[in-house]
């Protein structure tokens, strides 16, 4: 059915909100180590596509296979699969009533059965990597946007996910803070982390993406490796879009 290499396979994915069809049959394949960058005009359904991958949005049709398991099957325990699919949000969504360290350790401790010491050790290592070890005891309200998003990324990493989903991770940031977040994401990609990134950062897509996807009006219109995608766009709607954003 699938090769071992495919981590996520999306098959005819549909999503409607009431009478509005947002996704009209999306097919995609994400291999291990891929960095799929999803771009498209606002309202095109790209965020919905991403949020369907871990069923934060309940798909109305089609199938999503994660490690070969159809996670759209209602008998599947989606919570177990979500542990392996980290997510980073536009609005960070750190837990404001917990310290940075607690934000990062609550998942591993409650869900993976790690001891407090184990979880904190791993969290501190990750904080060190993103240069925020000194903020471990701070509360989210004491952090800048860029710091919050870096914490959100390492919070997701604490669960040892097989894939990270990014939903416009830099869109809510002040311009001078975008760089520090993209830097962390580039590092991760270099280390072979599988990522699906919805973004408007074309520079990031060109540099880091292995597979660029253009979604418009609920379907994938074009999909290609970055060189081809940006140098030689075939679809007129994509050409129009790129001429506006580049």
């Amino acid at each position: 059915m699938t090769t071992d290499n495919v981590l996520i396979r999306v098959d005819g994915l549909q999503k409607s909100f009431g009478k509005v069809d947002v996704l009209k049959g999306v097919n995609a394949e994400i291999k291990k180590g891929d960095v799929m960058v999803v771009i498209g005009p606002s309202g095109s359904g790209k965020s919905t596509f991403l949020r369907c991958l871990n069923r934060l949005e309940e798909p109305t049709g089609g199938h999503i296979f994660f490690n070969g398991v159809d996670i759209t099957d209602k008998r599947v325990n989606i919570n177990l699969h979500r542990q392996k699919m980290g997510m980073v949000f536009q609005q960070f969504n750190l837990f404001p009533h917990m310290t940075v360290l607690r934000n990062m350790t609550i998942g591993p401790m409650k869900l993976l059965g790690k001891s407090k010491q184990e979880a904190e050790e791993k969290a501190m290592q990750l904080l060190q990597r993103v240069g925020l070890a000194d903020r471990a005891d701070a509360y989210p309200s004491q952090l800048s946007g860029g710091q919050k998003q870096r914490i959100a990324i390492v919070r997701a990493l604490c669960m040892d996910p097989e894939v990270l989903l990014f939903d416009e991770p830099t869109s809510a940031l002040d311009p001078e803070m975008v760089g520090e977040v993209l830097e962390v994401m580039k590092e991760l990609a270099k280390e072979g982390m599988t990522m699906v990134v919805v973004t408007h950062e074309m520079g990031f897509a060109k540099e880091v993406g292995t597979d660029i996807v253009f979604i418009d009006e609920g379907i994938i219109i074009e999909e290609a490796p970055p060189e081809e995608f940006f140098k030689n766009p075939k679809n007129p709607r994509l050409r129009d879009f790129l001429s506006k954003v580049l």
Partner: protein, 244 residues
């Protein structure tokens, strides 16, 4: 001036010292406290349950519907019962509810304190439920999504992420409800309980003097509310240490 003082002293002795009338106030004081604490506990437990049902139903309507079957209908029925409870309790006066409990539902019981506790608890639960529901709904949807995306199920997300934030945010409104509850117990006299109000009124009946006993119980209520407010204020400051 001296005469006025002497008269007040006489009044004081008549109302509180003579025949050990102060004992009414002591008994009333403890009954009022007992009624308030016990019914607040019932109210909070009921309120959490009802708010949990209502928000779970609203938040997961699509999932319930998709999974369908018995679970969906069960949730729909429980949700409907909760809505009915809120409507009836908030739509009728607490005195009427107390009388119905005492003279109809528990007609065979002569334990007034127990019946009144249940009546006030059920009444308070309806208001507490709506306070909690409002508090839960006021938490950004992203918090629920972040919790779920880590792999927590709905209940875990509620317990670890949403409710701790809700309690902090709802504390002032909750305090308001407890203050209202404390003062509402003053109708307990309708079913023969010697609460603080009834105690003051008893003294007035015996001495035919209104000023001293009524002002005295008013002051006791006031002091109770001030102390309660101070305690909750302290708690609130402790919980607020995460926002700067």
């Amino acid at each position: 001036m001296k005469e006025w003082f002497l008269e007040q002293k006489e009044q004081f002795i008549l109302n509180f010292i003579e025949d050990d009338r102060w004992e009414f106030l002591v008994q009333g004081f403890f009954n009022t406290i007992l009624l308030t604490i016990l019914s607040a506990v019932i109210g909070v437990v009921l309120g959490i349950l009802v708010a949990a049902v209502r928000t779970t139903y609203d938040n997961n309507y699509e999932t319930f519907k998709k999974n369908g079957g018995f679970g969906f209908y069960l949730m729909a029925v429980i949700n409907w019962i909760c809505k009915l409870y809120l409507t009836v309790i908030r739509g009728t006066p607490v005195v009427v509810q107390l009388l119905i409990m005492y003279f109809i539902v528990f007609a065979t019981s002569d334990n007034g304190i127990m019946v009144a506790t249940i009546a006030f608890g059920i009444n308070s639960g309806a208001y507490v439920a709506e306070i909690f529901r409002g508090g839960i709904m006021s938490i950004d949807k992203g918090q629920l999504e972040a919790g779920r995306s880590i792999g927590f199920n709905y209940v875990q997300t509620m317990i670890f992420i949403i409710l701790p934030q809700t309690i902090k945010n709802t504390l002032p409104t909750l305090l308001n409800e407890f203050i209202a509850l404390l003062k509402e117990t003053s109708v307990a006299g309708y079913v023969g309980i010697m609460d603080l109000t009834k105690a003051g009124n008893n003294i007035r009946n015996q001495t035919y003097s209104a000023f001293m006993p009524l002002i005295a119980i008013a002051l006791v209520y006031l002091v109770l509310v001030v102390v309660l407010t101070w305690l909750v204020g302290k708690l609130e400051r402790r919980l607020r240490k995460s926002d700067h």
